[in-house]
């Protein structure tokens, strides 16, 4: 095992961030007060669609403490539209609605006042003259030519319509003995962090500088704001030392930030917008994918799955943003962990009068995994074959890596069969089966769910050029700077906010390992964006690979310099030296100590090798491994690393009540070399909890009037400590050949397979009744109703 190889890596170490959080001393956006700060409250549209005829804010403006009311018309005249990932220039989006509203809750205008309460008082005095328009909520209906477009200027509701054929799909279907078709729908949910989004902006006219503090997890955030506000990139200073209270993808906040940046500049004072929970739910523009899959799968009598046709229709909501790209990431693992020879993929994204989508944990991979795993269960059911045996037959074997999938990505490494064997042993699978049968005999509905899936990690953005040919992006770097001060202590700088991923622990552990220095002694800081090197923030399950990689490489550069100084000082060749715990040992036993080295580098230029720069600093800007090319023939290497997870759980429920009770949950997880075990386990547990929510509880549901029904936590139901069971993680390590320590990503782990597994367990429980639940979440009411319909 790899655990023995490292001094700090993969060892149980306390994450360094935890100390401030347990004391309530995190620095969250709402904790920041600036003198004379103003507060913003947006006015929400009551209509799902309407033309705005006029806005009368005079009564609001006359109220004491109210400073300004900003309308969409004012804003649109002053800022550029928000960035759009696709080539749909007529799907224009501004922070506030311009001329028409396109979903209930959309911001119509914004009050600026001396307190949030005063701003909310003023909202009630604004009169909006609006004419309701027809609206559309269903994605299939939005595709119809007879449906009114959400953006009339765009001409239709279609944002994306791409067909891919990878491999001999027709031949494989012809050759296969059987095929079957089915549809499943992934309900609209999101990560819903407990901290809502917030941003604080302050304009300094003397410096011509816009300072921004925000609870962001957003690549190229400063660039996008600068573009929209028509400011030079170096006139935006984003402060990365803000703790983010959870994100899991969604904390992008560009619209909030452009609005607040504009107001701050207009009024010349600090301005803050903290979403309240209702605003966050209905108009934070942070809903996740809502996706219908139509799948046809071809297979042989022995269970060999040959080919798959997948149509994925995503309901993007009222504006495009980056949401349609969430149909792109799954292309990198479109066959899951299976040897499927060919795939036809039809990706469709449409606008509707619902809240705008944002990136959610897994960027579209969890819905696709749910569809693939449902397909495997359906094939097994069709053939009367054991679900586990079917999977084991089709899984990629460990001797097949690197394994090229039809859509052009190589999977780096894995031993899927070994992970599954470990899980079956840990869970005592025969006992689990016996327990299921015992529960059934006792009159309960009981089912076992299994799901195997991949977590593509290392986050580059090759789905962008794949889905949008005018986009030539092939760079998706991350960076780290390291400095050893004149007293010999290490400080590393990272260039992003964190939302619980433990980046300070990651970098200090990695640097400690490389430099053989206790990570506790290494300081991590987060400068602002102007003092930072380029990076792309913690998205796409990439930071262990990319920030960890950049930190390790920066450390190696420092070490190389230290070795060169030592070689010069000791008068021996570098290959005669050995680095040990900060000191350098010569083969003859002489020791060049860390302190001497620091003294030379900082104070004795005359003792440094000729031409060497003084000081002990390095940096690294690292490109995504394997992510070096644009797509060719609709194929591309999208991610460098593929983590594997295998879920196994037992569920039971009373046939009348229908409330699923998870008895046991075991997950096998292989994300290569682990940097910090507690962090990886925590993310996996949390991902499973979130997946249980997606499978059973969480949905942004709309009524027939286009109103969001689940705006509060009374209706949007997130699992509590009662709904998440004790979970057993079975660890396995197949190092990646592409990363500095063999690490892979784990930030999306658990979530990528849990919804599929929970759905499978419920479906297994009702299989004897011929029931298939084809939509998530599977509510207890739906379970009970379906059973009643079959048994009454």
């Amino acid at each position: 095992m790899t655990e023995q190889k490292y001094k700090f890596l993969s060892t149980p170490r306390r994450p360094v961030e935890d100390r401030r959080f347990v004391a309530g001393r995190g620095k969250f956006i709402a904790d920041l007060d600036r003198p004379n700060m103003l507060h913003v409250a947006p006015l929400a549209s009551h209509h799902a669609a309407a033309v705005i005829n006029g806005i009368d804010a005079s009564a609001a403006l006359a109220m004491p403490g109210v400073v300004d009311v900003i309308t969409g018309a004012e804003l649109a005249a002053a800022v550029q539209p928000l960035m759009n990932g696709l080539n749909t220039p007529n799907v224009r989006r501004f922070p506030l609605a311009v001329d028409r509203v396109r979903y209930a809750g959309e911001w119509v205008c914004a009050v600026v006042a001396e307190s949030r309460a005063l701003a909310e008082d003023a909202l009630e005095k604004i009169i909006v003259d609006a004419t309701p328009q027809p609206f559309i909520l269903d994605a299939e209906a939005a595709l119809l030519e007879t449906s009114a477009p959400v953006h009339p200027e765009h001409g239709s509701n279609l944002l994306l319509d791409r067909k891919f054929v990878w491999g001999p799909v027709d031949d494989d279907f012809d050759a296969a003995a059987h095929s079957l078709s089915f549809s499943v729908t992934w309900g609209r949910n999101s990560t819903v962090p407990i901290e809502t989004f917030g941003v604080l902006a302050e304009w300094n006219g003397w410096d011509q500088m816009l300072d921004i503090w925000a609870s962001i997890q957003m690549p190229k955030y400063a660039d996008q704001i600068a573009r929209s506000l028509d400011l030079p990139g170096n006139a935006i200073r984003v402060h990365y030392d803000v703790d983010v209270g959870g994100s899991y993808g969604v904390k992008r906040g560009i619209k909030h930030s452009v609005l607040v940046g504009y107001i701050a500049r207009k009024l010349g004072c600090p301005v803050r917008l903290i979403e309240d929970r209702l605003e966050n739910m209905r108009a934070g523009d942070a809903h996740g994918p809502e996706r219908k899959f139509d799948i046809t799968i071809a297979f042989d009598q022995d269970g060999t799955v040959r080919s798959m046709k997948m149509r994925a229709l995503d309901n993007a909501g009222a504006y495009a943003g980056r949401a349609p790209f969430q149909l792109g990431k799954p292309i990198s693992a479109i066959v899951g962990p299976y040897q499927i020879n060919s795939v036809a993929y039809h990706a469709l994204s449409v606008t509707t009068n619902k809240t705008v989508q944002e990136a959610v944990r897994g960027f579209g991979q969890a819905p696709t995994n749910y569809a693939i795993e449902t397909a495997m269960d359906r094939v097994a059911e069709y053939l009367g074959m054991d679900r586990l045996a079917l999977r084991q037959k089709n899984l990629i074997r460990k001797d097949q890596f690197p394994y090229l999938i039809p859509s052009g990505s190589y999977y780096d490494s894995g031993d899927y069969h070994a992970v599954i064997d470990k899980v079956l042993a840990a869970a005592d699978y025969p006992a689990m089966l016996a327990e299921r049968d015992r529960l059934r005999d006792a009159g309960m509905m009981a089912g076992i769910g299994i799901a195997a899936c991949l977590e593509p990690s290392g986050g580059n953005s090759s789905f962008e050029p794949l889905l949008n040919q005018s986009n030539q992006t092939s760079t998706w770097m991350e960076s780290c700077q390291v400095n050893i001060d004149a007293l010999g202590k290490l400080t590393a700088r990272i260039h992003t906010t964190s939302s619980g991923q433990g980046h300070e622990t990651l970098v200090s552990t990695v640097l400690g390992e490389v430099m053989q220095i206790d990570p506790e002694l290494i300081r991590i800081t987060r400068p602002n964006s102007l003092e930072s090197l380029p990076g792309n923030s913690p998205v796409g399950s990439r930071m262990a690979i990319m920030l960890g990689g950049a930190a390790a490489r920066a450390g190696e550069k420092l070490k190389a310099k230290i070795m060169a100084i030592a070689a010069h000082r000791l008068g021996v060749a570098i290959d005669q030296l050995r680095y040990e715990g900060g000191d350098v040992l010569a083969h003859d036993g002489r020791r060049f100590t860390w302190d001497e080295m620091v003294e030379l580098a900082h104070r004795q230029y005359h003792n440094l090798p000729d031409g060497m720069d003084p000081g002990l600093a390095s940096f690294d800007i690292m490109q995504v491994p394997t992510g070096d090319a644009l797509p060719v023939d609709d194929k591309v290497q999208m991610y460098p690393c593929y983590s594997f997870e295998f879920h196994l759980l037992l569920v039971s429920f009373d046939p009348i009540i229908g409330r699923p009770d998870i008895h046991s949950y075991v997950i096998g997880h292989d994300c290569g070399t682990v940097i910090n075990p507690a962090i990886v386990s925590g993310m996996t547990y949390g991902g499973i909890a979130h997946g249980i929510g997606a499978a059973l509880f969480e949905e942004f549901a709309y009524d027939t009037n286009g109103q969001l029904l689940t705006q509060s936590f009374l209706d949007y139901l997130m699992p509590s400590s009662h709904e998440v069971p004790a979970i057993q993680i079975v660890k396995h390590c197949t190092p990646s050949p592409h990363t500095v320590f063999g690490q892979k990503g784990s930030g999306e782990s658990g979530y990528l397979g849990a919804p599929a597994a929970v759905s499978a367990a419920i479906n297994d429980a009702v299989s004897s009744l011929g029931i298939h639940f084809e939509k998530l979440p599977i509510r207890m009411s739906a379970i009970s109703d379906a059973i009643a319909a079959k048994t009454s």
Partner: protein
């Protein structure tokens, strides 16, 4: 506007505030104690949990004016402060030990819920721990390492010689 004086972490804190201001907003905006967090502001998520007479309650479901005369403990009242800042209470230390958190946003509420539990139940079962934190939503951890932390803290508190029921007295 009302003059309000609250007893927070054993000290009186006075401020002028409207009756409509919740205890949560008073703690954050008037008392300057930012460790109590707003999550939903309608009483479901538990991020704003504080202790009143040692019992966990929602500070978003109380008005500041209602809290006059009550003994309020916030996360700032747990563990060391001032010159002793950096000294963790037993429960806080256990959360660090098991990594019973990630983003840290629900954490103060979780720790106070754990304080309330362990002050009346020194040897809770896993089920009792889950019940005690069932009103505190965490989106990061799936609760597993939080439950581990609270059970670990209970064990450590039980091993103490001085039978101090909770580490709140460290403040």
């Amino acid at each position: 506007m009302n003059d309000v004086t609250l007893t927070i972490n054993g000290k009186p804190v006075s401020g002028v505030t409207e009756p409509r201001v919740t205890l949560l907003d008073f703690l954050r905006d008037v008392a300057g104690l930012k460790g109590t967090h707003a999550g939903c502001e309608h009483g479901v998520c538990g991020a704003c949990t504080v202790l009143i007479d040692g019992t966990a309650v929602r500070s978003c479901l109380m008005l500041a004016v209602q809290a006059e005369g009550e003994d309020i403990t916030t996360i700032e009242g747990i563990g060391g402060s001032g010159a002793r800042a950096g000294e963790l209470g037993v429960i806080q230390d256990a959360f660090c030990e098991t990594h019973g958190l990630q983003c840290g946003y629900c954490t103060p509420g979780m720790i106070l819920a754990a304080e309330a539990l362990l002050s009346v139940n020194t040897d809770p079962t896993e089920h009792e721990v889950r019940e005690a934190i069932s009103g505190n939503i965490c989106r990061c951890t799936g609760y597993v390492q939080i439950v581990d932390a609270i059970l670990l803290a209970a064990k450590r508190l039980g091993q103490r010689n001085d039978a101090v029921p909770s580490d709140a007295t460290l403040a």
